[in-house]
């Protein structure tokens, strides 16, 4: 059923967390009771991963409700199971198998819970009104207010209508990217590319106006 990457053993030895003694690939690609047991353990692992992801999304969990949350977990684990088994030939052993498998359950659970939580919410997709203030407000005299005004102006003047709509929906209205993708009939990659390009365009414009735009990457400790 499954071809395993020939460099898997070498990759495992190259770094990363030492793999556990059990060999998931061998068990999942065997037959009979060994495979059945491996499939059972894999499904339990994926349920655990999906449940943990859902447990960390308290706001959306509250919207969806307890009974439906259980359905989300089950559905996510089942879909992750199919994904893991179909992707098994691509597993290179460059991480623990459990970490590799968990990510499918985490993704499926997060996407499904976001979708369920937003299923009855309207997504603002019409062109938002201009952000430019008609006249200077007292805020402009506060520290940083000039930069805020410059960003507002740049959003209205520099971004394309599509970039503006996507950037405001994702960042200001905080529509989950999967939900927005579904409503627009596109995908996560395409929306993130639009946001990526919009950020580049805003920064280029703001830098041209002499603003010291934000540093590249903030870690969690920096945001505290």
């Amino acid at each position: 059923m499954t071809e395993v990457s020939p460099d898997r053993t070498a990759s495992r030895q190259a770094g990363g967390i030492p793999p556990p003694g059990e060999d998931w690939i061998a068990d999942l690609t065997s037959s009979g009771p060994v495979r059945e047991d491996a499939l059972r353990r894999l499904h339990a692992l994926l349920v655990r991963g999906a449940r943990f992801q859902v447990s960390r999304m308290s706001a959306m969990r509250a919207v969806v409700g307890a009974a439906q949350v259980e359905d989300v977990i089950t559905l996510a684990a089942d879909e992750a199971m199919v994904a893991v088994l179909s992707k098994l030939p691509t597993f290179e052993g460059r991480s623990r198998f459990t970490t590799w498998a968990f990510k499918f359950a985490v993704l499926q659970a997060a996407v499904e819970l976001r979708r369920q939580a937003w299923s009855r919410r309207e997504v603002p997709l019409d062109a938002a009104p201009p952000l430019i203030e008609p006249r200077p407000s007292p805020d402009l005299y506060a520290e940083g207010a000039e930069f805020a005004a410059a960003v507002r102006d740049a959003i209205d003047r520099v971004l394309t209508p599509h970039q503006r709509r996507i950037a405001l929906a994702l960042i200001v209205d905080e529509v989950p990217i999967d939900v927005l993708a579904e409503r627009l009939g596109t995908n996560r990659n395409a929306l993130y590319k639009t946001l990526h390009d919009a950020r580049s365009r805003l920064r280029t414009h703001l830098a041209g106006q002499g603003y010291d735009v934000a540093p590249p990457t903030r870690s969690r400790e920096e945001t505290r």
């Binding site: 960390r56 460059r94 991480s95 968990f102």
Partner: protein, 93 residues
Amino acid sequence: MTADPRLPTDAIRRLTIDPGPWLSCDDCFRLVDRYVEGLLVRGAEPVPAELAAMPAHLAGCSACAEEAATLLLLAATEAGIDPAPALERLPAP
């Protein structure tokens, strides 16, 4: 910074962060297991070149960052590693 409810201060920051080199959400997903394990075992060492675009992507994509944080916690539990130091280094939107 601004009292404009349509553009809160945090939104301004998130709109203008450096997007870094392009990395799709699909490629982030492909690499995220290696990335979080690297944070757990390599500590503050620089990330390998293949993973170099991950920090900017995670700082810019809240969905991928949320999922990466969960994966880091799960991987730490499996490996019996304290996740706190790695979680501190995981980029946040």
